[in-house]
């Protein structure tokens, strides 16, 4: 079920009413309702793949129980390995089987031993990269004794499948989300209203910004061979805002929806395009994934301790794995590696934590240094997005060589019609609002709170009207494919 669909607009109020009016006196019943609603939400796409979530939940629940009883280190490791193998096994099979099969075949062919690649017609189950990581975090945290394993199977199953964040995150940590299923949730008016406001902003980001930019980005990337440099640069710009609006919009809707049910999810985006360097960008972009990799991969590998070689190695590993997590294609791997290259100088010069605080704190505009840092970071990100969006490496390279040509200084020639102008104007307005709200959890969190109600309502109505009438054609959320 898509957040930006009528189906969800019907589903959400029904679950909300049942949750607060029918089951609110019994915590178990409330969790059961959330579990059923979550399975229904997921099953709306394809019931068959529900079995994967159920199986993964069973395995991790019993691994957790086993870890609680087991003191023997070897056996504990074996239990953890079971969880890792099951979760990464699912992920590996559904997401990476064809990639490895095809690449092995190509490698053998290059070595003069042609073999037949037996690629399968595998459908990628929606959200598999997200829920497997979430449930894996539980097993690892229990193994490391960072948290007590749960004995409440219902709460655990509801935690793994919690519908607002099931298919595209934020990838919640068991330490944050699971305990919220143990406690009775109280309805808090301001929290619910805030949730609705965040949902509205998420829908705006998705439908107005991402979907409008998507139409332009698709047009330019698909026809890139015949376009000049300025069009291609504009295409990368559109894609940068498409993916940001799409994914952060989804996260906003997920967080807002959770708040309606009394839950607090972690922040997933913190205005990443206002970052002053790449290290800051990665602290602000897809925070739940970045911190997941930091805690469960980077730090166990040694993090930034050790010699230069260790730092370089660990940085490359984390960025390349992060790239590969996004998809079974060399373009994602190169995208990850490129970000590692951007990041390394900052790490090696120990300047990766120089921009920790808010940008332009207490000022309306950034200073020249901040502005230069923001612009440079954004442009570097833009170039990396070309790899993320391109069909293959050849496409990405020809796209980039198209940008870095003399035609970069020509007028865009991709057919700059009304739709493109509209997308640009909307994106500029969006960036302006985001800038004004950059110190908040989301851009419009506090916008208009002190205004009189009719004026505030008028603002919300305007946003709804813009969503309805200036939104792009409905597209699936990009991160569903990951």
């Amino acid at each position: 079920m898509l957040f930006n669909s009528i189906d969800f607009a019907i589903f959400l109020p029904i679950v909300f009413l049942l949750y607060w009016f029918v089951t609110q006196k019994n915590l178990k019943l409330q969790n059961l309702l959330l579990l059923i609603a979550s399975y229904f939400f997921y099953g709306w796409w394809d019931w068959k793949f529900l079995s994967l979530i159920v199986f993964s939940s069973f395995v991790d629940y019993y691994v957790g129980r086993g870890l609680a009883k087991q003191e023997n280190t070897k056996k504990r490791k074996l239990l953890l390995l079971t969880s890792v193998l099951v979760n990464l096994g699912f992920l590996g099979f559904f997401k990476y089987y064809n990639f490895f099969a095809e690449n092995f075949a190509e490698a053998f062919t290059l070595l003069g031993q042609p073999i037949q690649a037996s690629s399968l017609n595998i459908i990628l189950p929606v959200g598999i990269s997200f829920y497997t990581f979430q449930t894996l975090s539980y097993s690892i945290d229990v193994y490391k004794r960072k948290m007590e394993p749960t004995i409440d199977i219902l709460a655990f199953f509801a935690f793994v499948s919690f519908f607002p964040q099931l298919v595209a995150g934020p990838i919640e940590r068991a330490t944050n989300l699971l305990p919220q299923f143990y406690k009775k949730r109280e309805f808090v008016y301001n929290k619910a209203v805030d949730g609705l406001r965040q949902i509205l902003w998420g829908l705006f980001k998705k439908i107005v910004i991402a979907d409008n930019c998507a139409e332009m980005a698709n047009k330019i990337f698909d026809g890139s061979a015949d376009l000049n440099g300025s069009s291609l640069l504009l295409g990368a710009f559109f894609f940068a805002f498409q993916i940001y609006g799409d994914f952060s919009g989804y996260s906003d809707i997920a967080i807002g929806t959770s708040r309606l049910f009394g839950f607090d999810l972690m922040k997933n985006f913190a205005f990443p395009y206002f970052s002053r360097d790449i290290a800051e960008f990665w602290r602000r972009w897809h925070i739940s994934l970045s911190t997941w990799f930091r805690d469960y991969l980077y730090i166990p590998l040694g993090g930034s301790r050790g010699g230069t070689w260790m730092k370089v190695r660990n940085t490359f590993i984390i960025f390349i794995v992060s790239g590969f997590w996004h998809g079974a294609n060399w373009t994602f791997i190169v995208w990850g590696a490129l970000n590692a290259i951007y990041f390394l100088p900052l790490l090696l010069l120990k300047r990766n934590r120089q921009n920790i605080g808010d940008i332009a704190e207490g000022r309306l505009l950034p200073n020249i240094r901040e502005f230069f840092g923001m612009t440079t970071t954004f442009l570097l990100t833009l170039l990396a997005w070309v790899f993320f969006r391109a069909e293959n490496l050849g496409h990405a390279l020809s796209y980039l060589s198209g940008i870095f040509s003399m035609s970069l200084f020509e007028f865009p020639d991709f057919g700059l019609g009304m739709n493109a102008i509209l997308a640009i104007l909307l994106t500029i307005s969006f960036v302006f609002i985001e800038w004004l709200g950059r110190h908040n959890e989301y851009a419009i969190e506090k916008l208009g709170l002190n205004w009189k109600r009719p004026i505030r309502y008028a603002m919300y109505y305007t946003l709804i009207l813009i969503i309805l009438f200036l939104g792009g054609s409905q597209q699936e959320f990009i991160y569903f494919q990951f």
Binding site: Y189, A192, Y460, F469, G471
Partner: protein, 308 residues
Amino acid sequence: MSIANFIKRSLKFLGLFLAFAILSLVLIGSTFEFLPHTKYYGQDYEKAFNKKDLGLLAIGNSKLLASLDNTTLQKELGLEPVNLGSIFSNLSVTRLTFESYLNNCEVMPKMVLMEVSWFTFNPVRTQFNEIGGDLFLNDYKLWPEALNYYPEIIDPLRKSFMRQVYSKVMPIGDIDYSSEFKDMSRFEKTYDFKLSEFEEVFPDHIAGVDPELLAEFERIVNLCKENNIQLVLYTAPEVSEYRSLQTDIEDIKTIFRNIPDVPYLDYSEGGEFFKKDYELWMKDSHHLNENVRYSEILAKDIKAKLDL
């Protein structure tokens, strides 16, 4: 504040918005007019829904738009025609166009001329396009059917609504589908057939028969029967390269050939009325660039088939 308060305020907020939305729809609907559009002939729709006593309705998609000339048809068949095709339109839109006309007309048309082809029942090549939104804004009698076309109806409806609003505050250009015709002073092949583009839409070279689109087609046939309207089907010319890739063409044509009392005139390769020369009349693999001479031929063939 309590949850009851939250719900009360949310309902009030939504209620106000819904009231505003309904009012806007009524307002736009009551002042609706078909506007010029590059995807269809707005003036033909405007004429169809105002004149109400037309003799010939032409319905279909871009192949129909490209192949007919109203003046020639009127001269040859003696019926006042309108070209109600629109590019990419699927059979749902075609059927709604026809049904909406019947809802509003005062005299039933004598003939419906419908272009059908290999991809008529394909749900990718044909879609619920923008004219579908126009039809709903123009004719409130169609609204009970709106949910049948959810969610694909949302986008056309939104675009149509926006165009109506724009047209009230600023002039809309008068460019229509005729701008698609290329200038061809000599009849010669001026296009390149790109297999890759073809395979993007038809990767297996199969157009198939979508059951829902087939049902819409049957509704058109039945509407004609019920209202005693002569339905004529035809397939406009297509180039050989394109035609030779249509793996399941015979299955599709069987559907058109086997409707009792409905003549089917096939101008594509292998068809009864095919001529090699037509290849020089095209602007691409399946759209005619020459519609005057072709309309003359088509009208004469129809007269012969129906013994008019």
